[in-house]
Amino acid sequence: MGNLSRMPEPLREAVGNLLLAMADEEVLIGHRDSEWVGHAPILEADIAIASIAQDEIGHAILWYSLLQELGWPDPDRMAYFRDPPEFRNATLVELPRGDWAFTVVRQFLFDFAEKVRLEALMGSAWTPLAEAAAKVRREETYHLMHSRAWIARLGDATEESHQRMQAALDLAWPHALGLFEPAPGEALRVAEGIQPPEAELRARWEAEVRPILEAASLVIPQAEPIYGGRAGRHTEHLASLLADFQLVARSGLGETW
C-alpha cells in the first residue's frame, strides 16, 4: 500500500496519529539533548550528544514530512506553531534535561523503544512508512551502542553514579511506559497491517532493556505507566519547553528566518 490519495479517510487519520506521536517525540528529545551542547561532562560526550540531537531532529523532519504528504502542515509549522495540547508525545521526552544520569537513562529507554517500533514498522503495509523506518533504524545503531554503553558505565561505577542512575530510572520509567500508550486509531492500524499492537511492542522493549539495566545493578521500579501524552495531556514542562523552542519563530518579527 503506497498510494496516499487512495488511503480512506479514517485510516489516513489513524496513520497520522501514529506519525504525529513519533515526530513530536523525536523533535522534543532532540531539543532536550541539544540543551547539553557546551555543557556536557566531557568534550567527547558533548560532541556525541550534539550528534544524537541532530539525528533525532532529522528523524522528526522525516516523520513530519510523511505527515505533510498525508495532508498535515509543513514540518516547521508543526514544530513551531502548535500549543502543548496539540502535541502527541509521551511525557518522557518533555521532562527537563536533569543531570547527565537522567539524560542517558531517558535516552536509553527512548532509543530502545524506537528500535522495537522501527523494526516492527519496517514490515508495515504502508510502504512509505516501512521504507522510512528502515532508513531511521540504520541510523539508530550508533545511538543504541552509545546509550547502552553509558548505562553500563555509570550504573554501578561509584556509589554516587549508582544513586543518580537509580533515581533517574525511578523518575523516567513510568513516563517511558507512556511511549506505548496507543495513539487513537490503534485497532484500525493493526487491522490494516500498519503496525503491531503497542502492548506487543512494550513486551519486546522490556525484554531488551531489562537485562541491560539489571546487569548495571539498577532496579526496575514497579510503577504504573503515565499516560495522557497521546491525548494531548502533558506535564507543565512542555509549556516552558515550547516557550523556549518557539520564542523567535513566534515573535512576529518575521515570516522567514
Binding site: S34, P41, I47, A53, A60, Y80, A157, T158, E160, V248
Partner: protein, 343 residues
C-alpha cells in the same frame, strides 16, 4: 600550575620567557632549527626546539583551544530558540564543530607535553586566556548570524595564516579547521542574508547585531602591532606569518564591502575605501576596552567562566565514575559485557 613534560619530568610552564640558553652547542642547534624554518620545513613534536618556541606554542594553542570551547557558549545559548528546524540543526552542528576544534587543538597542544586536564584547570582557575570576543553578549537571534559572518570570518582570516605556521601538528589542525569553518561562514552568511533581506524588524535586529560585533571582530586579531609583545618572536619562528594589523586589514578589506552590499552600515564614521592603496581605511577598536576585557572586566567574562565551571563541577561525578570503571576493568574486575572502546 600548568606543567609539561621535558625529558620525562613534569616541569612548570614558565610564566615569563626562560633565561636565554647559551653555549656553542645551543647556538648550533638554534641555527639549524631556524634554517629549517627558513626552508619552510615543519617542526615536529620530537624535533629539537628552543624552550621559548615550545612555551609560545603552548600559550597560543591552549588559548586557541579554550577559545573554541568557551566560544560554544554565546551561540549555544540560541540553540533552544533557533527559529526553524533547519537553523536548529545547523546551529547544533556548528557549535558541535567548535567543541571538535577544541578537542583537536588540545591534542595539538598535548604533543608539546602539556595535558588537557592541566590546560582546563588553568582555564577554570582564571590563569589561561581565551579570545576576548566571547565575553560579549548575544542578546538576539541576529547575534548568531552576526557571529557566523563576522567572528567566523575573522577567525578564518587568522587561521588560514596559522595553517602556514612552522609547527606541524598546529598547522595541520588549522588546515582541517579552516575547511570546516568555510561551512560555518556559508551558513552564517545565509542566516545573515535572511535577516538583512527580511522585514524591517529583522533588518533592524541584524543592524544592531552588526553594530555590536564589528569591533569585537576587529579585536579578535589581538592588540595593535605597537603593543603586541609576542609578535616579533612569533614571526621569527613562523608560528605566525602575518602581524595582527596585517590580518585586521585583510579582514576589513574582505568583510566591510560584504556587509555594506547588503544595505547595512558599519559603526565606523571613518570607514572608506581608499582607491590609492586599494584598502579600506577604518578606525581601530577601543584598546582601553580591549585590555579591560582581557583583564576579565568584559560584559560576560564572569558569566562565561561561571558556565564552564558549573559544567565542570556538575560533570565531576561522571568523570570520576568513568575513571573508577576503567580502573576496575583494568584490574580484571567487572564483566565488561558492554565495554566498548573508550569514549
Amino acid at each position: 600550575m600548568l606543567t609539561y613534560r621535558i625529558h620525562g619530568q613534569m616541569v612548570p610552564v614558565p610564566e615569563q620567557a626562560p633565561p636565554p640558553q647559551e653555549g656553542p652547542e645551543y647556538e648550533a642547534r638554534l641555527a639549524e632549527f631556524e634554517a629549517r624554518i627558513a626552508r619552510g620545513e615543519k617542526i615536529e613534536p620530537t624535533d629539537w626546539m628552543p624552550e621559548e618556541y615550545r612555551r609560545q606554542l603552548i600559550r597560543m594553542i591552549s588559548q586557541h583551544a579554550h577559545s573554541e570551547v568557551v566560544g560554544m557558549l554565546p551561540e549555544g545559548r540560541w540553540i533552544p530558540h533557533a527559529p526553524t528546524l533547519r537553523r536548529k540543526l545547523i546551529l547544533i552542528a556548528k557549535v558541535q564543530d567548535e567543541g571538535g576544534h577544541g578537542q583537536l587543538l588540545y591534542r595539538a597542544a598535548e604533543t608539546l607535553g602539556v595535558t588537557r586536564e592541566e590546560m582546563i584547570e588553568a582555564l577554570l582557575a582564571g590563569k589561561a586566556k581565551y579570545s576576548v570576543v566571547f565575553n560579549y553578549p548575544t542578546p538576539t537571534w541576529a547575534d548568531v548570524a552576526a557571529i557566523g559572518l563576522l567572528i567566523d570570518g575573522a577567525a578564518v582570516v587568522n587561521q588560514l595564516m596559522l595553517a602556514q605556521g612552522s609547527y606541524g601538528p598546529y598547522a595541520r589542525a588549522m588546515k582541517r579547521i579552516c575547511y570546516e569553518e568555510s561551512f560555518h561562514i556559508k551558513q552564517g552568511y545565509d542566516a545573515f542574508v535572511a535577516l538583512a533581506t527580511g522585514t524591517p524588524a529583522q533588518r533592524q535586529m541584524i543592524q544592531e547585531a552588526v553594530n555590536r560585533w564589528w569591533y569585537p571582530a576587529l579585536m579578535l586579531f589581538g592588540p595593535s602591532d605597537r603593543d603586541s609583545v609576542h609578535t616579533p618572536t612569533l614571526l621569527r619562528w613562523r608560528i605566525k606569518t602575518k602581524t595582527n594589523d596585517e590580518l585586521r586589514q585583510e579582514f576589513v578589506d574582505q568583510y566591510a564591502p560584504m556587509v555594506l552590499r547588503l544595505g547595512l552600515t558599519l559603526p565606523d564614521p571613518n570607514l572608506r575605501y581608499d582607491p590609492e592603496t586599494g584598502h579600506w581605511r577604518f578606525s581601530e577598536p577601543d584598546w582601553e576596552e580591549f585590555w579591560q576585557v582581557i583583564k576579565g572586566n568584559g560584559p560576560c567574562n564572569a558569566e562565561r567562566m561561571a558556565a564552564r565551571r558549573r559544567a565542570h563541577e556538575e560533570g565531576r561525578w561522571v568523570r570520576e565514575a568513568l575513571a573508577a570503571k576503567a580502573a576496575r576493568q583494568a584490574n580484571g574486575g567487572g564483566d565488561g559485557r558492554y565495554a566498548m572502546a573508550s569514549l
